[in-house]
């Protein structure tokens, strides 16, 4: 019963509320779930009815076929993240949730851009593509399809740059993430 570090006298004025705070930054939640039907619906439904907005969502298999990993990003300025994770934990099919620490996390998404590129602008677009280490995966006389991976900020930046050339279409996967180093995500 002997816990150290609790003060003998405790004034009520010293007490501070411990949670329910908004952090104001983007959060990446990595959620390990059982690979069963309806799990994604349960998670999406939870977000919808509690009024939590999902910025991006990516689902895929893991090294264990019984499990799937859902990576979702949401804005900590809009939601108390601890309330989001506590509600998620109540779902029986959710096994583990990590609110990934940005500095200790590698996050990437895949994006594909269809850009109009005829004659003059083509070289310029391809140059931008090279700077961003993108890959041209389809070419026609009037357009290019570029494949790009990176953090969502990098993809955003590329989008800003190619938009003036005529962005015909864009598709993004949303970020997936993994913890740096040896430790498990």
């Amino acid at each position: 019963m002997g816990e150290p570090a609790t003060k003998e006298v405790l004034s009520l004025d010293e007490l501070e509320a411990v949670s329910g705070l908004r952090t104001g930054r983007k959060h990446i939640l990595s959620i390990l779930v059982e690979n069963k039907p309806g799990v994604l619906t349960r998670i999406a439904g939870l977000f919808a009815r509690r009024g939590f907005n999902i910025d991006t969502l990516a689902v895929g298999p893991t090294d264990d076929e019984r499990l799937s990993r859902i990576t979702l990003t949401l804005d900590g300025a809009l939601h108390p993240i601890d309330q989001v994770t506590k509600q998620l934990h109540k779902l029986v099919n959710v096994l583990k949730i990590r609110d990934l620490e940005p500095r200790e996390t590698l996050a990437r998404e895949l994006a594909m851009f269809k850009v109009s590129a005829d004659g003059a602008s083509r070289a310029e677009v391809m140059q931008l593509c090279e700077i961003f280490r993108g890959k041209v995966v389809d070419v026609t006389k009037r357009s290019l399809v570029i494949e790009l991976t990176g953090t969502c900020e990098k993809v955003d930046a590329f989008e800003q740059l190619v938009r003036p050339f005529g962005l015909i279409e864009m598709a993004r996967t949303g970020e997936i993430a993994i913890a740096r180093g040896r430790s498990e995500t």
Binding site: E3, H89, L95
Partner: protein, 558 residues
Amino acid sequence: MRAVDALMECLKAEGVDVVFGLPGGANLPTYDAFYDAGIRHILVRHEAGGGHAAEGYAKATGKVGVALATSGPGATNLITPICDAMMDSVPVVFITGQVRTELLGTDGFQEADMIGISMPIVKHSFMIQDPLEIPRSIHEAFHLARTGRPGPVVVDIPQDLSRADIPYEPVSDVRLPGYQPTTEGNQKQIRIAAKALANARRPIIYAGGGVVASGAAAELTELATCDRFPVTCTVMGLGGFPGTHEQWLGMLGMHGTRAANYAMDEADLICAIGARFDDRVTGKLSEFAPRAKFIHIDIDPAEISKNVPAHIPIVGDAKNILPRLTAEYRALGADPGRLEEWWSRIRVWQERHPLRYEDSTDSEIKPQFMIQALYEATGGEAIVSSDVGQHQMWAAQYYNFPRPRRWINSGGLGTMGFGLPAAMGAKVGCPDQTVVCIAGDGSVQMNMQELATCSQEGIAIKVFIMNNGYLGMVRQWQELFWDKRYSQVDMGQWPDFVKLAEAYGATGLRLDDKHTLVSDMKEALATDGPVLVDVRVTREENTYPMIPAGQPARNMVG
């Protein structure tokens, strides 16, 4: 063995002695198994009645209730009881039939996506996809319903899978890696909470339905009386602390006592136990208990800091935590004298603002008097279920519940039509107890049909209808906040409840004289079988005191 026979074995292994249900096409195999399973089945007249009966059974006994329905409309009729059980954390397993697997997704006859429809309002649900899953899913459903924060679990079984042959072996364990409720409570947090209590000069214990669900009523009294902590309960927590105790302030919230609400408003430390800071308790959230720090004890971590940020959160089972908190508090040797000033302030509120009403000068029965008469007629010892509305609030105010599991009402969802079937379920679970239902003339008509079930099964509930011919609570709001524009609240004189009771094979009585009310009620209670009593009360009486919606506690009126 057929999967449905395995299902019966599982129910028996879970200790199920009664289920409430109604058969249909998709659960015919299950009903064939019931034919000689040796489990009592009560044939209800509407699936919602069955669902609420299972809730009433669970609330009165503390055991898991079971309700069955067929696919499609049978299943959707269970939605209200499921949602009700979710809001009030009631352990019930709902087993629904589903169309054959080959018809799934084809809009087949009586097909409804029960798993999809019920998803937002269940603790968990199982869609059976292989008959081999049935035994394990049933046991997991019971485990989920009963442990942690209790709640409803749905098991949806397609017709063809339920009649398949499976090798049955008893399941002795459940495997739910994603479900590990915390019950213990952190000792360090408990110690900090004890110190905070010892330093508080204006503390109050605010207890909710979690105390009842946890079976921690005795432990709560122990904590409250280890010093002289004032106690208030939510409408769900009534009976969690004796309603006649000298430290009892009465219920808090919208129709709570002034003493309880003012004490919350002025408290410097609020110890919330198994309560969730519902809007009917807090009133205007930004002005709720402005001077208070909060200890929040709850088994559901998501409740902590959901509405009101907690200063000392303790996640766990109240039954486990409260004795340790009491022990830690005792060890501190706090000075009880420091609470004198607080108590004298509370006593002033209690003396100035007791629950009161103006009694009639003739034989007219005031609704509040009706509850007091029922309290007297039952010696305060009945299990009381209620519907939703004015009568519910008066029952909560005037029937001083001495013990937990005596007050069975729909607090969170506020389901009209809950009371009668819930009383039926409670009586089935506690056949030796007096079970009464306090109903409104509006509410009672929403699940009236279960009186036939009571007559057929000999379930001797005593229903007392507080009949004012109105949807009374709505009328009250229209009077107070909508300029007395009474829109669609007059229920007239229909039906004739006495004749209706007789048609259902029950005894019907009409009472309208306050002078003989107690003895008339005693007579009704002593009558065999189900009894429906039409008590005529003052037509336009308001439930007071009241915190107008969206306002702070100190703005109480009436």
